[in-house]
Point group: D2
């Protein structure tokens, strides 16, 4: 940690600060500049992180040197984490494709969509039973009935199932029916929820909050790993910016950046990241080219009748074309789908 003092800080204030640092078992190193004094602090930085040194008189700013996360970092684990779900690997050489509707609407429509995506070679099936909706008047999901449908369809077709969990009270129920728990963007900093999924033995897809930095994203993953669950898949799904032509701005830089900073698998959700089905394919190709380990895509047999996210859903026909093109890009970067 580096502490920069204001010009003309009194000797007394400086002394108080140094005493505090030393009282924590740390060693301050003073660099006396022409205009500023800088104090480098040697030792366990974590001790200092919880200390509001910026509130000391005379302190201009405090600059942390080390990343505030540990378990998720590449320094902690240099090799890639590969998560194995019923024999399917995520984070290895293969690009993982996950597809399905935004929300489960009925057994028939969900089965039809699942069959359609399976035909395209997908074996991870997504679908929402509990839906976070901006409006209290919008469809809130089928709840447990939806979970049962997901369980049955997944079982029948031999597909791995993924669904969102919004409330710590629902985890027990959801666990019984599905294979992978998803934390949505709006809950990325719902810390109690993170702790609870960290206590389960299920793999977790953690979506980046739409206004969360890469650092905060990794800190939220740290919450899950810190509870003992290392099966975390990070999902970039677009961030909120001033641009309104697209629903969100796909932060493609984040994909290789996170791969450098962390050992966890990184996937991209191009459906939310663009909000327009006509952009989902190029965004998918870009993601795989940039190093993503997988894609999470909204597919619907009848987008114009979907109760949610219709404008960004692909038809099975368009999805089939996308899969073919993703295969070409995967091959170009030495991977397979």
């Amino acid at each position: 940690m580096i502490i920069v003092l204001k010009p003309h800080t009194s000797e007394e204030d400086k002394k108080k600060l140094l005493e505090r640092i030393e009282s924590l078992g740390l060693k301050p190193m003073i660099s006396q500049g022409v205009e500023r004094t800088i104090i480098g602090v040697i030792g366990e930085e974590d001790v200092l992180r919880v200390q509001p040194l910026e509130a000391f008189p005379g302190v201009e700013k405090v600059i942390p040197v080390l990343a505030p996360y540990k378990l998720v970092s590449r320094e902690f684990r240099p090799e890639n984490t590969v998560i194995n779900i019923k024999g399917t690997e995520i984070g290895g050489n293969r690009i993982s494709l996950m597809a399905g509707p935004c929300a489960i609407e009925s057994r028939e429509s969900f089965m039809a969509i699942a069959q359609a995506v399976k035909k395209c070679g997908v074996n991870i099936l997504r679908g929402g039973a509990f839906k976070p909706r901006t409006s209290p008047y919008s469809f809130q999901g089928m709840g447990e009935d939806g979970l049962k449908i997901m369980h049955d369809v997944g079982g029948e077709l031999g597909m791995i199932t993924v669904t969102e969990v919004m409330d710590p009270r629902d985890i027990e129920l959801i666990q019984k029916y599905v294979d992978v728990l998803q934390i949505g963007a709006r809950n990325m900093q719902n810390f109690n929820l993170l702790k609870e999924v960290g206590k389960t033995s299920k793999p977790v897809i953690l979506k980046r909050g739409m206004m969360s930095t890469i650092k905060e994203f990794l800190m939220s993953a740290e919450y899950i790993l810190n509870e003992g669950n290392f099966q975390v898949i990070l999902c970039e799904r677009g961030i909120r910016t001033f641009e309104t032509y697209t629903r969100n701005t796909l932060d493609i830089n984040a994909v290789p950046a996170i791969k450098q900073l962390s050992h966890l698998p990184v996937i991209v959700d191009p459906s939310h990241a663009t909000g327009r089905w006509g952009l989902v394919e190029p965004a998918s190709l870009a993601s795989v080219a940039a190093g993503a380990d997988g894609l999470l895509i909204e597919v619907h047999t009848h987008p114009e009748e979907a109760v949610s996210d219709g404008p960004q859903s692909l038809t099975p026909k368009n999805f089939f074309r996308l899969v073919g093109r993703v295969q070409s890009i995967a091959a170009a970067v030495g991977r397979k789908v």
Copy 2:
């Protein structure tokens, strides 16, 4: 709702769309332009809101006309909502001052801070017992022990108490100890939590998410009112922008904008909105000048020892000066503190 069609949309696509609209009991009005066809839809717009008309072939964009919230709107209730808590009114002519530490750290320090702010004329006391922290390694709050301290100190000094609730499972406990429930910025779209506080009889301070638009903010309040709890206080606490000199950007425009759009009281948290104690006073004065009904301010007797948010906490001395100046501004806009 207005639907804009793409140029060269086929008659068949147009027909399908019109049939769908009529099947919902609505009446489409067609304006045939030189380059575009526009369809105005007359009737209960709510029916259409859940229909993904944008996914229909031929549809370029769908523009809602009405605000998607009802109960929170000024149109629903033209006069200001005034919330009465043990005889203290929020949203009336008086500016409400709420102050206290970010987190409750011990009985002694909390009592000292409470006494200090009470001396400045404040009778609403804030303090966190459950703290949402970016890092799992940071202090997470004293939990129920903190609630007990808050309850005792509030009772002894005759002050109204406010604390944050992060988890639906904690509501029952928290209700027993405090007067006002606060929903933090990170939980503004934790919809299950909103529903649960909507079922209580406690006033709720709802903080704006740092990434949320004014519209989304009002929609989240709608969730609470929709459960029957109309005692909602909206709190602007700064939004996230590209500017990094301050912790957040206080969206001062939002104060009069929300007062125009909604009947609910609006307060400002200048501590989080600036992140620098040296800016808290001018931000407070600006908020009251812009029409805010109250201020929520972090005060600490020893900011340099606070376990959380020290850099943005005011000392009692600086807070006392602030209260005096707020009184002058309040008088200038015809109000009292």
Copy 3:
């Protein structure tokens, strides 16, 4: 300047870096931490600023310690700069009101507006002759004809005149007709234009770019001062954020922040900062409460016929009310209008 090395940086890379620092006449101070090495650099930091030390092998990040501006800083000049224009002071105890239409449209309409704002006690008249417009098909301003109108009307009514300069080639012409040059938000980083106005003897209103940080804003002012012109008035006019309800987000925090960082006068343009005339008054009151030295407001006798910015223009009647309320707020903070 502080340099943080990557873990496991080789001794050779470290040596090369230290040699470079010493070759610039600077003294490196090494702090060897458990996980990281930190190098503090003592001496003239400016020498280092232009050196891409981040590109050296082994360097993780480089953190500047000193602000990159000098002439505009409070440290350079502790007392407030007060600019005197024909006997009117800007930056002193009085709040400066500047008003007029977005664009000069005709002699008659400009005279009518000027008379109206003068009646409200305003003696600084604004109006655009060269207009930066997003579309090439929009009205681009009256050019020199507009300047002549401004000159005549200003002379007749004894008002100080302000107009925008967009092109270094126009400065000579504009100087002949008006008293104060304005640099628009889109040109805040048009560095050649900044240099040219820096060579004139006219006061300059520099508007903050909608995408510019406070630091960049001050750096742009530094360009003007560096050419010898210290008569610079900084104007906060709203920044671009994700919020779309308002045209821009008034960064009210920037007002006191800049007053702390710099000695230059700071004014606010609430018309652009809100984009809605119904919010101009509360934004004006907030600005003065936060410490602004003046306001720049769009007024039009017939907003619905204005060729530009009609939706954010005040009628003289609404402006008159605003001036009265600004007087009350000014008095509350110990100032006058």
Copy 4:
């Protein structure tokens, strides 16, 4: 254009508005809803764009239906624009690679870099002679001396040359020395500069402003085409967001979005879009996968000695590897380098 009226708008206000619309030769179509009246306007929308209908009493909002640009739109020209520079095509099947240092620093270093990138198969050489720098104290470019070096090196190696123009007064000079004019991000809305390059016969690379929407970007291109110069290459170079880990956020969505909206070639500058050389390669691959027609990359033989942008410059060795990988991705999407 669609006009939404406020509830309870008086008949008189409505009448005034309709009269204004009709006086412009347009035909209003009224849709009377339960809660709102909507007016669709049929006819030349351009006439209305300059009219501030939002300032009329009773008007809630005005929604344009047509895109405000014409010449740059796909509707105006459905096939891709291919720009031919001395036999090299930009915007056709081949991916164009443009590379070189941020700034021209000396004849020797520029020649060395040019030779290095030529060896990698690049025949478009970039380099700055006039540099827009945030600080007046930073290196501002070699000016005409730099142009001469560029001209000589380009001539000797048979490469096409690109340099930035910052000031309308420099265009005549720059034109004499280089093949392609570049407008930097900070000047994207320097409208006079756009008009002036529009009057030349040189191809223009127009960089997107870091806080400009796709629509504004296209409007700025429209300024150039409107002067008769259709040889415009649009360059996405990252936008400013809240994320600070990277220098900018590469808006990868913008690449296919602009290709759908416009016929102009689109290239990407991954150096500025990431600001970290370690991310330049994945960002380049993503850009080509998403449909970019070319890449503009900073290469320096000694990044640690570069006077500008060292941290984001690639060494020739890393650039060589990048070119090989871009070839693979290009092949995967049916194109060549």
